[in-house]
Symmetry: C2
Subunit: 331 residues, 2 copies
């Protein structure tokens, strides 16, 4: 910066003003400075700026996974919304989802580099409370609403999505709907299972035993093999807690000669890109990760302006996408 100032024949402070786009700089002066910047190849030092201003221009994102599709899409949306708001993203992955590790990651990011924190909490933590500095804007997504009463939450309308899926199947004459749940460690999986139960209860339908997977197509395949090997009269519809398990389950049914949807209807959750192109095309509940991401950023920006006031949970609507994997009940 000193070099630029010398070359342009102005003070360092004026260079700073130009670099920050202040208006109170003469046109001619600004041009001189900009030219000098280009000549010198000046790049402002973010650390020094952060030290002087107390702002980092970055949000931290804590996630247990990046490659799981939902997480990837959420992160992408957060990154895009953050960039548009002038913030960069500091991504921190936590290998094992214990509250201690998450709190450590938070501490790490918090003191260090960020103006706010998005926690993609995907999995239930072992301890109820997170240690978060009181002044750090924070938002939690992909978590039980009740888990963190003190922090703002953004999440998909799990209950509404599941209700639509189950009602869709019941409306087509299925007497009940089986369920392949996500892992017990996932709060989203819990919510979907509860909502499935509730929807069946409301309709007066029997509630079959839950099969449990781990989100992977492999686990859906296994669940499908188990279901196929203990044939039951009322197995005509299955709601899988995500699309990948639904895909695996469909492969198992194919292998066992169970036709979809003639014998059994299958519905997933997420609407991943492939859902439309597997065979048969998968009926599913579309999550709007783009909205989730931008709401997270918006929530952080509001906290930066106004502090962590009590905010309502933000629920992101879903949409049932009906394709060929679901149809009328047989007979």
């Amino acid at each position: 910066m000193a070099d630029v100032a010398k070359l342009a024949g102005v003070s360092a402070q004026t260079v700073s003003r130009v670099a920050n786009g202040r208006t109170n700089v003469d046109h001619a002066t600004r041009d001189k400075v900009l030219t000098a910047m280009r000549v010198v190849g000046y790049q402002p030092n973010g650390a020094a700026r952060a030290l002087a201003t107390g702002r980092f221009g970055a949000f931290g994102v804590i996630s247990f996974s990046v490659s799981r599709i939902g997480d990837a899409r959420t992160i992408e949306a957060i990154a895009t919304a953050s960039r548009d708001a002038g913030f960069s993203i500091n991504l921190m992955t936590v290998e094992r989802p214990t509250a201690g590790r998450v709190s450590a990651a938070i501490a790490n990011l918090a003191g260090q580099n960020v103006d706010g924190l998005v926690i993609i909490q995907a999995e239930i933590l072992d301890a109820p409370s997170l240690v978060i500095g009181p002044d750090l804007p924070v938002v939690i997504t992909d978590t039980y609403p009740s888990t963190h009463p003190d922090y703002p939450i953004v999440d998909t309308d799990q209950e509404g999505g599941v209700r639509r899926a189950v009602d869709h199947l019941l409306a087509m004459g299925h007497r009940t709907v089986w369920h392949v749940a996500g892992p017990a460690t996932s709060s989203a999986a819990h919510e979907r299972t509860s909502a499935w139960q509730a929807a069946l209860h409301r309709a007066g339908a029997p509630v079959p035993a839950v099969r449990r997977g781990d989100w992977s197509a492999a686990s859906g395949y296994q669940a499908g093999m188990v279901l196929a090997s203990e044939p039951r009269e009322d197995l005509t519809a299955v709601f899988c807690a995500n699309d990948q398990m639904a895909i695996g389950l469909m492969r198992a049914f194919h292998e066992r000669g169970i036709r979809i949807p003639e014998d059994v209807s299958v519905v997933g959750f997420d609407d991943i890109d492939e859902a439309e192109y597997v065979w048969p095309p998968l009926t599913t509940v579309r999550q709007r990760f783009d909205i989730i991401g931008s709401l997270c950023v918006q929530t952080l920006l509001e906290q930066i302006d106004r502090g962590r006031e009590s905010q309502p949970m933000r629920v992101v609507p879903v949409e049932l996408v009906v394709r060929d994997s679901s149809g009328p009940a047989p007979r």
Copy 2:
């Protein structure tokens, strides 16, 4: 830090030493300081540390996409390897892959916050050269080897992977292999197409016209519909440049009553999780994104130590995974 020093009855410098884990501090003193840190709730300020040391403890990652599976897995691997090396990840997405935008993103990250840069270049840029500060460690992945002769490159063994896939099909008696390519903007797509051509040439097989998709299952579906509607005697094997297009293509063939693999064999590229669980299970070339990620980080660490000396391109091996979507040529 001053508060901690006062409370512990030592100098600020000693607190700094404890915070940085230096060994030359007396046990008793260290304990006093650690206690004081806990009492005060001390968190070192990353910006100040970076300013003083000139190191940020972070790598920048520039990517055009986060949610595309390969990118997501690469980013996850980079994040994990970086964390293990004590670095965090500053993620920057670039919406439109022009050299100008990428250079701007680089400038943004470079001066600002990072000790090194991973560019996941996925798409061919409009201008040949990137503007990268001469002192910034950098590594480019997912790009043409020849594009950036001056920078270290890490990439999958595209040629080897394609060769294995094509040879696998030819060895089963197919007279030739059709190809659904990735988008013209992708260097990986180019490489795979060239390798496919070369493999056919080597075998003396005819080279059918290339169909082009955009990596999505939807585009694979369209390509499949087109292929299915112009039936040809020699259409008995298709190599798709990624798994998602292969999945879409298989749906199209299902719809048109073309059996896989009895009528047509299909091979993909990537080995995404679902590949094993679509119907039929997809033969594909497994990319090792985990290795790519850790090699990227390793390359950066070496540059930090020894400067940007000329490094050989690092080629990551692949593996052909044979499943049920490929079989002997009909008749």
